[in-house]
Subunit: 518 residues, 2 copies
């Protein structure tokens, strides 16, 4: 058995089932070991962003890590943008990064670069393996570290991967979760019980069904309003679950909204700050006059926290005031006519199948989607947590592997889609149940919006070159087919509806190019 | 005038003519300033790797920098793989990277990450601007630094870009080149003059016409053999220029070759090490018993060095022994029949137009190309200096902007092509004279080769998944057309010949999918 076998045996023993990989010569012992390891499925991405983005999607859905296998510094670098979003989603991801043989690296071969320097920028945990006999311990450690809700990276020199091991015991390690400070929770409970106007921003795993059910009881009992950050990683929604509003994207709306509260409880959520800095607007959207109670998320036992909070404000205090946790809203019906941001979102919301995972990277097109779909059947939504574009298609790939029984709907802006367009090929190869809805508006519309906010309305040649992507227009139907994914185009809402129905009924991947008018 | 205008005015004054960009909200003041700046052409890449790879190609051809405009940490990260190759090519590149407003960054907004940590891994020079009044000085400095033959990066917070400037004087700065140590050159001359068997490995700008002409005289006078590193950045070739051999890729050939020399002079070249570490083979391919004289390249005045060496061994010593600088070889004729690595390379070499820039990322398919084309008309070749795949298409984009009068031929492996496939769109938009020759062999053949070297011949399911890219096969003709580049397929050499002739005659980009049999 080789060092690479030790890595994979340990990975299987610690719950890894899948490896999103794009390997090179320095990872060959791991490739060979994968061939001997039936417990891990190897999935090829034709670009590392596909691999890390898929690991992000997988981790968001299952809340346990996939492994990536990356080739040296450049391979890791290609995966960093998607890891950035995974980091902001508090998502567990395990990266195994090949490195030159220890003795070779010092000769500064062409592919040598500072892997550690790159990995440090996205990893909450990072180690370079030093001896083959330690690979099992290292592997157990990297997995446990990731399971606390972070990116964990292990750099493994090729000579250690290839080394023969004669004495192997697979290491096991459980992640350690900190208990949340009970004093902090009592403070939160006291604020709520006093009847002050309170917002609770939920983050991390509190946006899953179990967390949301408790949150709803707390909300009913105390009248506190439930929110998520502007771009949450993964939210369960629909049917009996409470409506959770997102903090608005543009600062004006966000600041106004938050100003209405005397107390804001950050329950595993990030302190909301505006996405970009705008002169004259503060970074934090919670006013300094509002009391903020911040209960940490990743690395802490959040379910224990919510249970204790429930005990304090619902069970012990008997504050079971009647208040419907959600506004009653009816499911939209399918509109007709030209496709706009509005009609496209209504059509998708109206046809959303039970159990769907919606990966939303529609950017400007999907601003209306979240509220349009609040009365749709049970589903989950992933969003662009870190703002690093190109996360959508790979995230859909990972989500489809994580939940093969659930349809995945990726609403995908065209400009962003081009960043990791290689994902389509993996969808085709693996016959994944993903419906990709391309929002073709022919430009980086969000930048045009921000340029207008900055006072620039009539673009000249150079600015237009950097904002439009319609000269030439991208033929998404042709592009998708060339990578093995069947594709059609929709100009009208009723056409889109027909395409969506067919795509969902038929197994395997589909792409629908939505010609969205401004 | 804004800080962003100061950056661009200074850039123009210091020789920047083009900006390969993919901007976001944090670079909006620069986008707006580009609109007012006719001296710089803005070129959009639909992925940052296209931008940095294009800057690499532009810099290799002109030996002066293009500017890139990148969006925060994730935008830079997407460009790092191509910057890695540029760094290994000693290529001048100027990166301008937008950062959040200084006051906003500390609030840790979603897109915030350690830009400096990322930039440091590829940049020879790096600075974060601290005040708007210093932007002109910073810009002049970043350009001068790059012109010494390295990647230079300037991080500019958005508030500085947007700041109003009332008192602007454009800074100018020339790069400083060190003179080469003359003692070192006298040593090299002495070794050559003694008649010991000497190899001179040329690097950096000595592989351009002016350097090569002097090298040829030195070679004729002393009998020393001329080499380049395995993957040189840019080599002028053909007609009257000397044949420069490349140090072989696989270690066995490289070590055997170098063992034949008593002295090796590294003239601005890297000390050749094997691409990967192979157990039992040393990293350095020059044996320890061989004397190595290392004359530094980037940052040094290489032309002065070569002139002085010529003085010593040719002019002063009068060692004008007759020796033909190049082996007489005849241009290959177009073969017929099935397309293999061999027949594809012969066909391309036979039809290579005068003045062509060949961007070679054919990996396993183009092993035979370099020798096949040694008798082709004057041309230049770029290769994958840092081994980071996906450099080819963007490099072709940059080369086409650098030399609009020269046809660019990109021989491109399929697996690598997928990494930066977005380049095709920029070729179409800008109507660049690039002929892309895709080597469709349906797999990462180099990895299969390395797996075989490692003793793995019969791949199982997991290994095959990571090496083959033919389930589904990529339809390169469809893919290319969907992004606006006309495309055709060739199964036979004679068909390929017809396609190449037409593509070269007709302006604008073309893609030819070569179905290469193993």
């Amino acid at each position: 058995m080789t060092g690479a076998d030790a890595i994979l045996e340990t990975a299987v023993a610690n719950g890894i089932e899948i490896c999103f990989a794009n390997a090179g010569t320095t990872e060959i012992p791991v490739v060979a070991a994968l061939d001997r390891q039936p417990g891990i499925r190897a999935v090829l991405g034709l670009f590392e962003g596909v691999c890390t983005g898929a690991a992000d999607g997988y981790g968001r859905v299952l809340y346990r890590p996939a492994m990536t296998l990356l080739h040296l510094g450049p391979g890791l670098a290609n995966g960093i943008a998607c890891l950035h979003n995974a980091r902001r989603a508090d998502c567990p991801v395990v990266n195994v990064i090949g490195e030159h043989a220890s003795w070779h690296r010092d000769a500064d071969p062409p592919l040598h670069s500072d892997i550690k320097g790159l990995a440090r920028t996205v990893s909450g945990w990072l180690r370079t393996s030093r001896k083959a006999a330690g690979l099992s311990t290292d592997t157990a450690a990297v997995i446990a570290a990731s399971r606390a809700g972070q990116i964990a990276s292990l750099i493994v020199p090729a000579d250690l991967q290839a080394a023969r091991l004669h004495d192997f015991h697979s290491a096991r390690k459980e992640p350690v979760f900190q208990p949340v400070d009970r004093g902090l929770i009592r403070k939160a409970a006291a604020a709520m019980s006093r009847g002050t106007k309170t917002a609770m921003i939920l983050g991390n795993r509190l946006l899953r069904r179990d967390g949301l059910e408790i949150a709803q009881k707390i909300s009913s009992a105390t009248g506190c309003d439930l929110f998520a950050n502007t771009f949450p990683g993964y939210v369960d929604r629909g049917e009996d679950l409470p409506v959770v509003r997102r903090v608005p994207y543009f600062p004006e709306g966000a600041v106004t909204l938050m100003s209405g509260y005397e107390t804001v409880i950050l329950a595993g959520a990030h302190d909301p700050v505006t996405f970009f800095g705008y002169e004259g607007t503060p970074s934090r959207v919670i006013p300094d006059t509002t009391r903020t109670i911040s209960i940490p998320g990743p690395g802490y036992d959040m379910v224990e926290f919510m249970g204790y909070l429930e005990d304090l404000v619902v069970k012990k205090k008997g504050l079971a005031r009647a208040r419907t946790g959600r506004s009653v809203q009816s499911k939209p019906s399918v509109p007709t006519g030209v496709l706009t941001s509005e009609t496209a979102c209504l059509t998708i919301a109206a046809l959303l199948p039970e159990g769907a995972i919606v990966v939303d990277e529609g950017i400007t097109t999907t601003f209306p989607f979240y509220s349009a779909s609040s009365a749709s059947p049970s589903h989950s939504i992933c969003t662009i947590t870190g703002g690093s574009i190109g996360y959508g298609m790979p995230c859909a790939v990972g989500a489809a592997f994580a939940a093969p029984g659930r349809p995945v709907i990726n609403i995908q802006a065209d400009g962003s889609a081009m960043y990791t367009v290689q994902s389509l090929w993996t969808m085709a190869r693996e016959n994944l149940n993903i419906t990709t809805l391309i929002c073709n508006n022919g430009g980086y519309n969000i930048i045009a919006v921000e340029l207008e906010r900055a006072g620039l309305k009539d673009f000249g040649e150079n600015a237009r070159r950097l904002v439009d992507i319609d000269r030439p227009g991208i033929n998404w139907v042709g592009l998708s087919r060339s990578l093995g994914v069947p594709a059609v185009r929709a100009d009208k809402a009723e056409q889109l509806a027909g395409h969506i129905k067919r795509a969902i009924k038929e197994p395997g991947p589909h792409l629908i190019e939505m010609m969205v008018k401004p």
